[in-house]
Symmetry: D3
Subunit: 210 residues, 6 copies
């Protein structure tokens, strides 16, 4: 029992793919996704700070880095699941949390258990850092799904993911980093050529002006 097991668990995260079962031109692992989200959260944190919002960087990095560690227990099955009601998602959440609890009790040395409980349970709360994490997670999903779309991936799930991401990010429109994202970063991303672009941009535009 000890931290060796925690480190070995990072291996699992390199082997669990995001959205398993769906065709992807580019596969992403949970490990790579965690790296990307932390890097994006860092970008957004800079923008917040440039707008005079104080950022607790320790919390921001910690939240982003660990936000999907618990997927080693049941995988990435919550996001794209069709046919799942809110109630079912809640049940999956409970299963994951109970396994996490069991893991901490069995594998983490007692003196560090409180720290891991914070890291593996808290995340997208209502603090600045929690909000930035929520946005970063969706910005990553937006890039991930956009990549599939411009490669002409016919599975409708990627357009749904993209639209859902834009909508969720918009809900955090009060954050300076979100305003900057939509003004400076998003238009650059959309400035690519791909089959079906005109129709796609119209859809995006409609969501942006809802």
């Amino acid at each position: 029992m000890g931290l060796n097991e925690y480190i070995l668990g990072l291996n699992n995260l390199e082997k669990i793919t995001r959205a398993p079962g769906f065709f992807k031109f580019t596969e992403h692992t949970v490990a790579a996704h965690s790296f990307r989200v932390t890097s994006i959260a860092q970008v957004l944190g800079d923008i917040e700070e440039a707008n005079d919002i104080p950022v607790d960087w320790k919390m921001l990095y910690e939240k982003a880095l660990n936000h999907d560690y618990t997927e080693r227990f049941i995988g990435d099955i919550k996001t794209p699941v069709k046919y799942a009601s809110k109630e079912l998602r809640g049940m999956l959440q409970i299963v994951e949390e109970k396994m996490t609890d069991e893991f901490i009790n069995q594998e983490i040395p007692e003196e560090f258990q409180a720290i891991y409980r914070r890291r593996l349970f808290e995340g997208k709360d209502e603090s600045v850092e929690g909000e930035v994490l929520a946005v970063a997670d969706k910005v990553d999903l937006l890039y991930e799904s956009f990549e599939e779309i411009i490669k002409n991936n016919p599975e409708p799930v990627y357009k749904e993911m993209f639209i859902e991401s834009v909508k969720t990010i918009k809900e955090y429109g009060h954050r300076p980093s979100v305003q900057y994202f939509f003004k400076e970063i998003f238009p650059e991303l959309l400035d690519e050529n791909f089959y079906g672009k005109t129709a796609f941009l119209k859809t995006v535009d409609k969501i942006m002006h809802q």
Copy 2:
């Protein structure tokens, strides 16, 4: 709505890997596993019949072919999950069943719904065919994990899977096909050379004589 969606779902099963998150020398998809289990069930059915047990072949094939179709909804997350209590496994089972129900209601034409309800819900019951399916599923797990063991896979999960398979198959020792398996097929399989064989065979032997 229609059977097109059911056929497209076979694609997902080709992309979901068994035991996600664990290192494997040979990856198996749910689709390939289903093919293998059905082929093994066919082998076992022949042996039952050669021992004058009447086999309802329609039911045997149907049960084996469809026994993991519902994994397209939440993946193969039940078997190797550590840190999961019986209660949590039960919850995952319920989630899967509710999604299956939703899928049948939304995607299967009404005149075929009853058939799919039977196919996707019933399986390892107490009929001869249900028992043969249960055995075939474990024989496949046994071959799958043995393959990893003789390639020197260091993850302990494969030895655990192998042992668990042998134990479960033994519980069906009243079936002629199981007696034949342990007498004629299993010894041939174990007749390979690999690192740590002596210790491994001793463990197997102990289980066989429990």
Copy 3:
């Protein structure tokens, strides 16, 4: 010698890819193909039965499940081979059959040899089940090639496969399951958006009305 060798052979089928040598966005193994064809044959069998055609389910499942087992001997080299005359295909067929014969003699216990001879040699005969298998095999090829087409695969071989599939299925137009397929399932499949759709649908339409 024994059934262990037969089961191990399933491994080979998980490693042999369909249409080797051609670029594919999604690779399919012979094992997964066999699973898909059996599942599609099951769909078609239901439709036949709903139209009061008696179905020998044992034969239908058996034929579909085993129809490509012998590809473990020389791989999937018959379908997409350009530059091959009918005579050459015939020669490849003979090679495969002789190896199958050798395999049964060497590896299958005598009491089961007759069964395997039936399973590995008979297949697409003129029985209802043989016809349904022939259709299911082409329906799978149709889905497989369509998937490549809508992902914009530039290899002409996939359009050829698609067209050839439609034509072959049409030849079985007297089967109720084929009529249902073209009326209820096929239009749903074609209802996707992809580059070059208009021209493609025109070609399909022409074949359908030949």
Copy 4:
């Protein structure tokens, strides 16, 4: 020009594999490695803090997360390169740094350039955080190479990497986190069974007591 290009660059890091050209049972990308190193640095930071060493967490996370971002320019070619003198490694370092400089000038908005200059240039300096990063980087290499060793990877490069990692970590023996690592974590890791273990442990033991 803008942060979009920085985020797109994360894609490259998901596609660059560590130690290209060498056979590995488990491939690691630079993105996954960065995630792992940051997680390990977090583990080590906790231990430092538990030993009353003040940790600047912002700097620790920042250093770890970004320490290999610049590998998107010339890949992971410095670590395992045989036939390279110290002078040649220095030249490669210069090439990487000049491209990084060019990248910052061309792609990062002016108001953030100073931040990226710090992130992409500073790293393993002599601060507590710089030392913890240096250790975390080697702990990851140690786990990575050990994984290959216990799977019986015959390439000698992995034993060399393992030994080099142990040696480098030992140089930081004044850090409480290193003392804890060798006392509590390392022995747990070595407690696996693998071919050639006795000889291997003897080598490790010799290095530990040098």
Copy 5:
């Protein structure tokens, strides 16, 4: 020390991918690229000979076969590197050459060192064979990048590679094989349908008439 090490080095070339870090629908290894370039050089050599240009076939094959062997030392990092000045490319070249020198001294038996020095250092010189190699290398890059373009790969790097290839080949317009290539082979290649073809052909046309 001896030729065993040289042969083992071929393994590395099978594991180093071209243009690492970029998304590709079809990955190419340095080994496969070397095979392709040698085969294309053979095609071009035939055409030269048919136009009464004497070809030193030994030199042509030797140059083509070995032109990228030294990439086992630092990988394929020179071609697609953005942000690299001519000076930096020169430095990478020097690093590669020094390692090659070290390799020959350490691993090649003395009686063969002169031969390997010729093979691994000389290449695209001003001889007929050197020019044909330079053309063949670009023809392969042209096919490689064209393949990505017609599959709708959105990374701009492939269009840049294609255009750069056409331009470089054109510089060798005095070679009969280049004239034949542009007259007989290139138009056949471009005769495919793909998204954005009209705009693409216009660009190509402009380069051809510069």
Copy 6:
């Protein structure tokens, strides 16, 4: 019709794997194999020349480079096929040759047909170059199978391939390059540590002294 089709065919060779259906730790494509065989033939040619045997380098390179091009038609199915009699192998040979003939007639411009007929049909004849090719082909198979053996691959086929290679190479014991190979290169290769080495070396030794 033209040489474009020949070049495109190189693509197929990058996608056809050697020994399809068998588990391999390292997959080799026909393209990479062709590169390796040509490089090994070059090594052997040097040794012949150093022993005053005149080498027709044009023929040696040509034979080696093209010796498996025709596998694009039916794949690499001849080598490891169990259950195949000499007669069946002969039939497969005929099929391949007839398709090659068809390919040349349909795709190669008339002025080059004679050259391609020589390249794609002649190969391992009794000339020095034909013998060196035969040896090089087996030396590659020997390295390929040895690599699997030292990684502990349990499939017996690799030991069979290794032994068969040694035996075939020995048949060419009159060639100076073979004598050099067994004296200088082979012992270096065998100088690795692996599970089961003692027993393995004994087998090799027995063959060497037959």
